[in-house]
């Protein structure tokens, strides 16, 4: 009896050790820098806050939210099988949904049961001037109305009138305005996706407005 419990506890502690070491290795992918004088403290490693995708488009049993002990999980389709042959992108699902649709590689229904119903597409671009150095934002109604209905945006998210809505990047990152969908289901906000929205270059003579605060007059 006694040996059995001792054995079990040793087993448990070994598990702890192995998993713990693995977790540390995952956090610090760079090898330790060894030198004769000493070694760099763990607090000063690279990538303290950077999180990288270890695996893109993981299959359901390996994705961390599906329970692999559930039989149904293993029947679900791995995304990569479905994405085969679709144009790729650098973010989100790593699929260019707009191009896939335009190229006719996908035919999602616009009606629950009738596959022949065509969407009500409206081709109207809205340009939103951006005060900062970023290129101006072009909101294209076309790709939106291919997927969505006017009532998904108007009037709850946006008043249907040019420049009647106050939109800012912080609101978007908070999940409001464009951020209701972008960063949730439609393409997310990341360094590589900025120019998807910020797509109209500033005029050649455009200069960023100067801040008025100065040391002499910090209160303006």
């Amino acid at each position: 009896m006694k040996t059995k419990y001792f054995f079990l506890s040793v087993l448990a502690m070994t598990t702890l050790l192995v998993v713990g070491v693995n977790a540390q290795a995952a956090q610090a992918p760079l090898k330790e820098v060894k030198s004769a004088k000493g070694k760099v403290s763990g607090a000063n490693i690279f990538n303290r806050l950077l999180k990288k995708d270890e695996q893109r488009n993981a299959a359901p049993p390996e994705d961390g939210i599906h329970d692999s002990a559930n039989d149904g999980t293993h029947v679900l389709q791995p995304p990569l099988i479905a994405y085969d042959g679709l144009p790729t992108s650098e973010f989100g699902n790593y699929v260019d949904w707009v191009k896939s649709l335009d190229d006719g590689l996908l035919k999602p229904r616009y009606d629950l049961s009738d596959p022949t119903v065509e969407p009500l597409v409206m081709d109207l671009d809205i340009v939103r001037e951006v005060k900062a150095s970023m290129p101006d934002v072009v909101f294209p109604h076309k790709p939106h109305t291919q997927w969505l209905h006017c009532s998904n945006c108007h009037p709850k998210i946006f008043i249907p009138q040019r420049n009647a809505n106050v939109i800012s990047m912080s609101a978007i990152l908070l999940g409001q305005k464009c951020g209701v969908c972008h960063g949730k289901v439609s393409f997310p906000i990341t360094t590589k996706s900025c120019t998807k929205c910020h797509s109209k270059p500033k005029p050649a003579d455009w200069k960023p407005p100067k801040s008025e605060a100065s040391l002499k007059n910090p209160w303006r």
Binding site: L8, N70, R109, N152, L173, P188
Partner: protein, 162 residues
Amino acid sequence: MCAVRDIIKSHSARVLVFFDEFMEGVSMFKSAMIGLLGMLAVLMLPQAAQAEYADVVINNYADAAGMRPAVFPHWYHRIRFRCKVCHADLGFKLKAGGNKITMAKIIDGKFCGACHNGEISWSVENCGMCHSGVPGTPTQIHGSTVQRLVAPTYKSLGKPAK
């Protein structure tokens, strides 16, 4: 102790096998207890989730009713349906967990039940196809920009402290 037992049950069947035996000897073998707790702590570490972008975990009621949370894959459905079908025609609100979906509503033909009825898609008796989430996973939309921020913006945007 009951809660701990539930957690262990849901995390690893292997632990469960010797759990009952194990508990009998606990008071006598402190080291065994420490080992067990250590193992438990490891099993409870948040898993590095890398689920597909826009997968929604819906867990308003499932856990409490002893079912695994439901997982809704947007990518799979948007290949077959435009957003308009669900978010305009079927009335799904644009908020994870915001629709208060229950099985009673589903078999009544609402929400998932508008399609998972044996006509447009496979029928509702395939519990494990929808209820496939890791037990205890909270309601969320996966891979969202907000989840990926290093520091949450919503904290810094509150009213300035005085």
